[in-house]
């Protein structure tokens, strides 16, 4: 019974995707969105059932195989399900956000400047987002590394297709190419991590892998003669490289800002709520392994904290509404990863969940603004939109308050659990990370409300004055309302079971001495309401509120201030404007470097040395001697060939005689 339900959850979006994709022209727009929305709705409803069973009722984890991909060398490569609190939660979040995005898309993709109305782009888009839902579900439901990798690559593929959805635009097809390549660099680490699992554990199955961890604790691996590393640390770092690609951690973050070339609904679904959190999910899923390597956890912690802080800073100067949200996603992903590195897995996952809702909300609200602005995305073209778009305004406000961690909102609880846990952590790098993340709170508040004030308050721009701006249709606003509710209140009932570890139960494994969240729970926690009340005197909330106030002063009260500041420190601005130079470095070293190397190999090694040197000289010798003969012959090359074969046969007969 459960097996059938899980199979249905997994395949119904796939069926919807196939119907919309293959028969899009025949069934038309309505047929396509009905089929896909129906498919995803089935998944949501059944996921809710599964969520109830596993999270609320606390059913035993379910582990079963779906089908065997191949068996060889005594290893079964399978697809299957591992359902516990962790996957059940992710399933519900993925399907719910996906459903909201499906509905929203009906409005958002209705008209498109890039496509002729007769082009079935609309059907194709629905097909892709349903296909994405299927891929993401197979990733989170997996019970083994192979399937994880399947899902991992499949979401990458759909992301590639969707970033390049406007395939006539050079910027879009450049962005998706880059996204795929950067993700592949991560996948390189990931597949090597899987190879370590294969070599030392002889299985792909999570449970069998976990069972052997203790026996392999002290295995060393010789990287180069004389240099030995802990096998588990190496494996985890390699797997984490994969996570860095998908979850856009520095220095593999460069693809995410450009992924905003895709239509806004998928920025919400893929590049904010679900796919980019796959790396965080991976670490949570493998928590029993990560617990065994302090080194790997420190790496995770430091990379996460750096990403959270440095990417947040870049959010300060963005002028495109989607880019602000994109950098904020990068920064928030850093928070989640840092939490993982501090062994506060539940806190990180908690932030994944709240972030999925409030970030999807923010993106969809930004999309609503973009619709109203007739697909203009520059913040400077907006201003004073509050009175034209009240629903979007409130949605954006709720999303922003959740994002900055305003007391009571969902993001407050998840972010505060991360910060409190980090404060308790004693791992290498944890104080450094704590400072960065704390500073990040101020930055987050500042850039979020900078955008908020510039878009909705202040002077109306010329564009707003001269064009008719109106609130978006119901298919757009209903998802906003539906997402606002969890973004506002979902933290309240979840904080306690998250902190004391009962929410995820045995799905997350933490060594007692690493369990910082339990320390936080026993030392500081006296109920959710108490947490809200006392928070106004704590540093994070003070920082968040000062960020908002400063944004208000700079962008509403004294709007001339930002320009002055920019003039005062041009260097700082330059560093931020060039995004720390990662793109230039990549362009010069990797892109141009490899291309030049390729041309060099092609021209010199293959061309001059092998072809001219080795081959043509031999060829010329043969050809010159053949010239003499050619005079008396037919001149057809294949005649020569035939004669050669005959001659060879004659020679053969002669030798054997």
């Amino acid at each position: 019974m459960l097996h059938t339900i899980l199979t249905l959850i997994l395949v119904s979006p796939l069926i919807g995707a196939l119907i919309a994709g293959l028969f899009g022209r025949q069934i038309g727009r309505v047929g396509a969105h009905t089929a896909t929305i129906l498919g995803v709705t089935i998944s949501v409803v059944l996921s809710a059932y599964v969520f109830n069973q596993f999270v609320l009722e606390g059913a035993e984890a379910y582990n079963a195989s779906l089908y065997t991909w191949l068996v060889t060398d005594g290893i079964r490569f399978e697809l299957g399900f591992m359902i516990d609190e962790l996957s059940a939660t992710m399933m519900l979040v993925v399907t719910f956000v996906s459903l909201m995005v499906h509905i929203y898309t009906v409005g958002y993709m209705d008209h498109d400047e890039d496509y002729d109305h007769n082009d079935p782009y609309y059907q194709r888009f629905f097909s892709y987002i349903s296909l994405f839902t299927f891929s993401m579900l197979s990733l989170v439901m997996a019970n083994n590394f192979l399937q994880l990798f399947f899902g991992w690559e499949a979401v990458g593929l759909v992301s590639y297709l969707l970033i390049g959805f406007y395939m006539k635009r050079e910027s879009a097809i450049q962005a998706n190419f880059k996204a795929f390549l950067v993700n592949r660099v991560g996948d390189l680490g990931f597949i090597l991590g899987i190879a370590v699992v294969f070599v030392y554990f002889n299985t792909m199955d999570y449970n069998e892998f976990f069972a052997q961890l203790a026996d392999n604790k002290d295995v060393m691996i010789e990287i180069i003669p004389g240099v030995e590393w802990s096998m588990i640390t190496l494996m985890l770092i390699l797997l984490f490289v994969g996570a860095m690609g998908k979850s856009a951690q520095m220095p593999l973050h460069v693809w995410l800002p450009e992924s905003m070339e895709g239509p806004t609904p998928i920025s919400a679904l893929i590049h904010a709520a679900t796919m980019v959190t796959a790396g965080v999910f991976l670490i949570a899923r493998l928590s029993p392994a990560f617990e065994m390597s302090e080194v790997a956890l420190s790496v995770v912690l430091i990379i996460g904290a750096l990403t959270a802080f440095l990417m947040g800073l870049l959010g300060l100067i963005q002028t495109d509404i989607k880019r602000v949200v994109a950098y904020s996603t990068l920064s928030q992903l850093g928070y989640m990863i840092a939490a993982m590195g501090a062994s506060a897995y539940a806190a990180g996952m908690f932030h994944v969940l709240t972030h999925a809702f409030f970030k999807a909300l923010l993106f969809l609200a930004a999309g609503s603004v973009i619709i109203a602005m007739h697909h203009k995305q520059e913040i400077s073209d907006m201003g004073g939109l509050k009175k034209y778009m009240p629903i979007t305004y409130i949605a954006m406000l709720i999303g922003s308050l959740a994002l900055i961690g305003f007391p009571g909102f969902s993001g407050f609880f998840s972010k505060d659990s991360i910060l409190l846990s980090l404060n308790e952590a004693e791992r290498f790098g944890s104080s450094f990370a704590y400072i960065l993340l704390m500073a990040g709170v101020f930055i987050t508040a500042f850039y979020s409300f900078r955008m908020f004030f510039l878009v909705f308050h202040g002077e109306e721009s010329e564009y707003v004055k001269t064009h008719q701006i109106k609130e978006s249709p119901w298919v757009v606003t209903v998802p906003l309302v539906l997402l606002s509710v969890p973004a506002a209140v979902m933290g309240l009932p979840m904080i306690e079971p998250m902190l004391n570890g009962t929410y995820f139960g045995s799905a997350l494994q933490i060594l007692p001495q690493n369990d910082v969240m339990m320390t936080v729970y026993t030392t500081y926690y006296h109920g959710a309401v108490d947490m809200i009340v006392h928070s106004f005197l704590t540093l994070p909330v003070i920082l968040a509120i000062s960020g908002v106030v400063l944004a208000y002063v700079m962008y509403v009260q004294v709007p001339t201030l930002p320009a002055k500041l920019k003039k005062m420190c041009p260097r700082g601005f330059y560093v931020l404007d060039s995004a720390y130079g990662f793109d230039r470095l990549n362009d010069i070293v990797f892109v141009d470097g490899t291309r030049k190397l390729g041309h060099f190999f092609n021209r010199v090694v293959d061309g001059k040395i092998i072809d001219t040197g080795m081959v043509t000289n031999t060829f010329m010798a043969v050809s010159n001697s053949a010239d003499a003969l050619r005079q008396s012959q037919t001149g057809y090359l294949y005649h020569y060939a035939f004669v050669m074969i005959l001659g060879l046969l004659a020679m053969l007969v002669w030798t054997l005689w």
Binding site: F150, M167, L181, N602, I610, L637, Y638
Partner: protein, 504 residues
Amino acid sequence: MLTGFPILSTLIWLPIIGGLLVLFAGRNNDSAAKWLSLATVVATFILSIPLWTGFDNSTASMQFVEQVAWIPMFNIHYHLGVDGLSMPLVLLTTFTQVLVIASAWDVIKDRVEQYMGAFLIMGGIMVGVFVALDSILFYIFWEALLIPMFIVIGKWGGPKRVYATLKFFLYTFLGSVFMLVSFLYMYYLSGSFSILDFQDMPLGMTAQILIFLAFLAAFAVKIPMFPVHTWLPDAHVEAPTAGSVVLAAIMLKMGGYGFVRFSLPITPDASMTLDWIVIALSLIAIVYIGVVALAQSDMKKLVAYSSISHMGFVTLGMFLVYDIVQNTGSMQGAQLGMEGAMVQMISHGFISGAMFLAIGVLYDRMHTREISAYGGVVNKMPWFVLFAVIFSMANVGLPGTSGFVGEFMVILSAFKANLWYGTLAALTLVIGAAYTLWMVKRVFFGAVVNDQVEQLQDLNKREFAIMATLAIAIIALGVFPGPLMEVMHTSVGHLLVQATTSKL
């Protein structure tokens, strides 16, 4: 299985006789030539299916055996048979032949009967290579294949076809002469030309080394391996589409097949001593050739280099067993690599065939293969681009396509043999994606760049059917590789025992 029906002979001679018939009956009657050819390849394909359905997975011995004395004086036999290593390749051949004939349907207008006839004859000969169990018979098929291919490129090829054909011919011919000498030497020792006898006979180390190198010369050229690979891009560029398809999908596999049928079982000790040569050349193929592919401006050349790079996985997977045994003390993991290599051959047959057919579709319309002449094809040919992107993603080794299966297996196995082998091999994840998707970006996506692209028509029904068949094959093998594996298990296990049993 023992139906008594000479199924292997039928698969060899039906297309050859059909080809001769087409040559004579199809003169001045293109339509008859086409239909007769199609009937022949379809019949051959259907007749090859019992090889799969009647195959006994539990044994490594030869099946569907046919043996009659041919030249008794030298103990040469007309001896045919298949095992789990060759049977899938036979099916790949008969399957590809159908697509090859279909792909030339309206495209070739000049001397249709000769073109079709050449491909039919090639099809029979290729089956012969995979099923011959007598080394002389094998050698005859091996060399005979050059003639129709030579004619196809030389006659229907591009402007530099003379250079390309001679290069192709000399390379492969020179490589295989050494192989023939090895056969003769082993005949003097054993009194038999049977490949199975060669596999069982004892051989001294010096002899093994020399024979191994002779085989390496023959097979390395065919696969091709660095540094004897430069004939392939030239041959591809000049060959007509169907020629490229046969070349990439089947002829390259003959080299890989040679390693598992000859090198490993006949010269196991030399293979163990010299495995580093093959491994080093394979890794160079995967990494270096991949980077060279990035620099190509001609689509066919790019896919040709990509083929060489992918064939690096085949040779790598085949020679991992020795390092695995040496480093871990057991064979665990070697089977994975070897089967990965075999799957990679089948998969590459589909993918490279598909890529060349896709390029052919564009070439038929625009008469250029220069990447820079294209851009924004998707706007005019959406169905075509759908298939082309599926094929490209398979070329990139995306899970769910056949391209993933072999690469994944070989990478895992290589990592077991040596951490750095695995790491270098895995670089293909990035390099392969770079050259393939960069081409995809420049050719298929973007805005329409010129009037010629503006005029493009999407796939016709025939092209659609070919593309769809390949796409289904690629995805089916990617999602359900299990059945193919089961066919190979026993034979691969047997091969690994042979490869690790000393003959000294």
